[in-house]
């Protein structure tokens, strides 16, 4: 009976969480359910390894690489304006400047609408997180993490 419950529960979930990572950043994208033609939201979690920080989405220098997220063009959903948290101030010693950064864990909220004509079923969206990290000694070249977002159209 318990086994049957778990099987039913498993099938009712929108899809597995997708996890992608490199040595500094881990991205966790939960599966999400949505109706065709309706609005929905997916919250992507980003975990920055302890001791590191990455530049925030909103930066105060045009040459700094901000954290950004792209969903690869597809015919399944239309995305809205993504919401990123505000960055924390990171003082640059010996300078009036400060950086706006993320450390620890933060979430990126992506509102979307499933296209009207999409049939029910499971879909996988490809996404990319771009970031540039530093630790207490050095800065690393900009990187991109590719990850998937599972969407169950119901």
């Amino acid at each position: 009976m318990l086994l049957l419950y778990f099987i039913v529960l498993l099938h009712s979930l929108p899809g597995p969480r997708q996890m992608s990572s490199d040595t500094i950043v881990k991205v966790v994208a939960p599966g999400v359910s949505a109706h065709a033609g309706k609005d929905a939201v997916v919250n992507v979690s980003v975990l920055v390894k302890k001791g590191y920080h990455i530049q925030a989405h909103k930066v105060n220098d045009e040459f700094i690489i901000p954290t950004s997220l792209d969903i690869v063009e597809n015919n399944i959903i239309i995305t809205g304006k993504q919401a990123f948290p505000a960055g924390k101030k990171f003082k640059i010693e010996g300078s009036e400047n400060y950086l706006l950064v993320y450390d620890g864990e933060f979430k990126i909220t992506i509102p979307f609408k499933v296209q009207e004509e999409i049939p029910k079923g499971k879909y996988t969206l490809q996404a990319k997180l771009h970031y540039q990290a530093c630790d207490d000694k050095t800065c690393f070249a900009p990187k991109t993490i590719n990850f998937d977002i599972g969407v169950q159209v119901i």
Partner: protein, 183 residues
């Protein structure tokens, strides 16, 4: 207890600084690796031909926040020492020339910005054993060096984001020291 934690933190911080700084120290007194690079205007600069000058090298990338933070001070340093047999160069590491030129317009550098397009020169300046997880060309980014008039490295500060010297105080001090001895 709180005092002990503070003391331990201070000792660890000092050790980390000495450790990072010390790792670059292995190159002090060594002949600087030779290079020949084009600047953003297409002029070629060869370290060999610059012999007789004091050279300040700053390895940079446009995305590097610490490089950008010290950029105005590097221009100031250039203006201060330009008539004292000191030449200043930024070596941009593995970036598109158009992007570097855009950065150049922003910072209005009066000295040449050299293009190390494949990172070969930068990799030669990476001290052995430092940041082994990084590509060798990434290691010197945001570092400052002084090469003396005999082609030897006399100062090498690797980036230390925790105790960054954006005002280039130590670099200025070392230049003063070298120039005072020289004259």
């Amino acid at each position: 207890m709180r005092f002990s934690v503070k003391l331990a933190t201070s000792i660890l911080t000092a050790f980390a600084f000495v450790s990072v700084y010390g790792q670059a120290e292995q190159m002090i007194g060594q002949p600087a690796p030779l290079f020949e690079l084009k600047d953003t205007r297409g002029n070629v600069h060869s370290l060999d031909q610059l012999r007789g000058n004091y050279i300040v090298l700053h390895f940079a990338a446009t995305w590097c926040p610490f490089c950008n933070a010290e950029a105005p001070n590097l221009e100031e340093l250039y203006q201060k020492y330009r008539d004292k047999n000191v030449r200043v160069f930024i070596v941009d590491v593995r970036e598109d020339a158009a992007l570097v030129k855009k950065s150049l317009e922003h910072f209005q550098f009066s000295f040449p910005v050299l293009l190390d397009e494949d990172g070969t020169v930068s990799a030669k300046y990476a001290p052995d054993g430092v940041q082994p997880a990084l590509n060798r060309y990434e290691v010197p980014i945001a570092s400052n060096l002084i090469i003396d008039n005999d082609g030897k490295i006399r100062f090498y500060s690797l980036l230390n984001t925790a105790s960054f010297d954006a005002k280039l105080t130590k670099l200025n001090q070392k230049l003063d020291e070298l120039l005072n001895v020289a004259h």
